[in-house]
Symmetry: C2
Subunit: 337 residues, 2 copies
């Protein structure tokens, strides 16, 4: 392994001068700079990150905690984040959790072990934050969920208004003339996101002079194809005359639509479906899935910008809401009475 000492010896300068050149300091003579750069190049020298980070006690890494491994929206966001971080000299430390796991516990662990300079949470449950977020002392951004009520100085958020978005989805079904509406979503006890969207559903029902009969209308599932498939099967079994379903993620919706087809039910002819997230998948599926689109690019870019703002510019925590958008696909049919 070639170290800074080798470069020093070979170039005839001292390690400190080499270090200065390496770190683009300006208190170095052009001669020294040129000579040292030549030697560095010739030896293919790259500084040892461990030594550097040990000394500087910062790791130049950013932790990303993803809740839900099959969550396509998060996959899309991660992809965008990667593209942005690639251009900087930071590295990402990814950590994937099950959708109901405790992300703050994981964050604490990550901070201790990897010393990231900041954290991005893709999905998160305020309960966990309330309980133990005090232990995390680096700047963080909660993405897709709101954190304004939490009031931590080092926790920003870039979120979609899940209540309004959930309401929007169900409103669309009412608008199409549906009365018998089912909901397929996450575990309401464990998933804050699902709970918010569900609140939106309740608002919509209420606005239409109705109330949600939990037992019959709501079925829970995980955010994966398989689970959506099974969940939809359970839903139609307990609610046989359902004509429309709001499914809380596109991935689940695809599983759900497949389940319906396998039972001989067509979407939208027999049952209408509205998804959530607005991933690319939804628009390429057949039928195109009507969905509530979260702007994943904006979510991604703002969260990274805000994190860097907090880290480098020492800015305060901010809380932003990113607008969603209803995308009408081919999966909803107007119900004539």
């Amino acid at each position: 392994m070639v170290t800074i000492k080798d470069i020093a010896r070979e170039s005839g300068y001292s390690v400190s001068t080499v270090s200065r050149v390496l770190n683009r300091r300006n208190d170095v003579s052009p001669d020294a700079k040129k000579k040292i750069e030549e030697v560095v190049e010739r030896f293919h020298f790259t500084p040892n990150n461990n030594a550097k980070q040990l000394k500087q006690n910062n790791s130049k890494s950013i932790g990303v905690i993803v809740k839900g491994i099959s969550n396509m929206l998060f996959a899309n966001i991660v992809e965008e984040i990667q593209k942005m971080i690639e251009k900087t000299d930071y590295t990402l430390v990814m950590s994937y959790l099950d959708e109901d796991d405790d992300e703050v516990e994981q964050a604490t662990l990550l901070c201790r072990e990897r010393k990231p300079i900041g954290l991005l949470f893709l999905g998160g449950n305020p309960e966990f934050f309330k309980k133990e977020f005090a232990g995390v002392d680096v700047p963080c951004v909660l993405v897709t969920n709101r954190a304004d009520k939490l009031g931590y100085a080092n926790l920003s958020s870039v979120a979609t208004d899940d209540i309004a978005a959930g309401r929007c989805a169900v409103d669309a079904l009412f608008a199409a003339g549906h009365e018998k509406i089912g909901i397929l979503g996450g575990n309401l006890e464990k998933s804050y996101t699902s709970r918010q969207r569900f609140l939106g559903c309740q608002e919509s029902f209420l606005a239409h002079g109705r109330e949600i009969e939990m037992e019959k209308c709501y079925e829970k599932a995980h955010f994966s194809f398989e689970s959506g498939y099974r969940g939809m099967n359970r839903l139609v079994e307990k609610f046989p005359d359902v004509t429309a379903v709001f499914v809380m993620s596109d991935v689940m919706a695809i599983g759900a639509i497949r389940a319906l087809r396998d039972r001989g039910l067509l979407v939208p002819e027999n049952i209408s479906v509205v998804g959530f997230d607005g991933t690319t998948l939804a628009e390429y599926y057949n039928p195109k899935i009507a969905t509530v689109k979260q702007q994943y690019q904006t979510l991604a870019s703002r969260s990274v910008e805000i994190l860097f703002g907090q880290i480098e510019l020492k800015q305060d925590a901010v809380h932003e809401l990113v607008p969603f958008e209803f995308v009408s696909g081919e999966s909803v049919r107007a119900q004539e009475e």
Copy 2:
């Protein structure tokens, strides 16, 4: 920050004894062990990775280089790899490349900067390996592509026989009575994988007394929904009476099927489609996509096992072929003449 010295002082033992306990050595008295563990627990002490790795000069990290960010198969494999690595004390360093980029160049960079103890290539082009792989000196496994002909002592491979698999896909279309068969795949100049599958197609054509008319039958695209969509449009335009298409990935196939529908063509009624990869997506799509399934779990588990075999057991490079399987979906229709 709490360091090993703090633990030493607090427990009344020396740093070396603490270090021994931390590293589960057995040359330590039960008393010392117990006391030290108690203090470690009380202070929430976690060793500083940078210091540890600097000293040991190994990073306990494994590099994963993924060629093609929209490649669902790779996403599935990565997921499996993550599950396996999670249980060990290694960390993954992910690196995503464009599908036509030079992965070996990236590998060289990664080795210099992060000093991984081993590398996993998800997809790769033998050309790049021939040109510069000599610069990579850690154990590597090329996943999904063969590397047996390359003959590097530190490069194993766990692959699917792309030639046979490509042939299998086209054979299925011939078997269904199709004559006018198109192919939608990657850039044959840049994508080795595509070239292999294409060779398989040629074999199949030949076996059926036919030859591929490149100009008319082959269209290139990237392995994404969007690109598959556009590619299929170009293909039907230059080959209007095509009745069946082999698409070299499920993701592309979904884009392609969507393109056909948007032109008013149904799958399989008007045009049959066979995909490739056998991702979950294919079986939930509508229609279910007939596809050549690569066993991603096996691909993932074997590649990790082989890498650890090389790293820890100093085993020699091995080259394995993982069997593929044709999955008949709903996207192929028998052609009656």
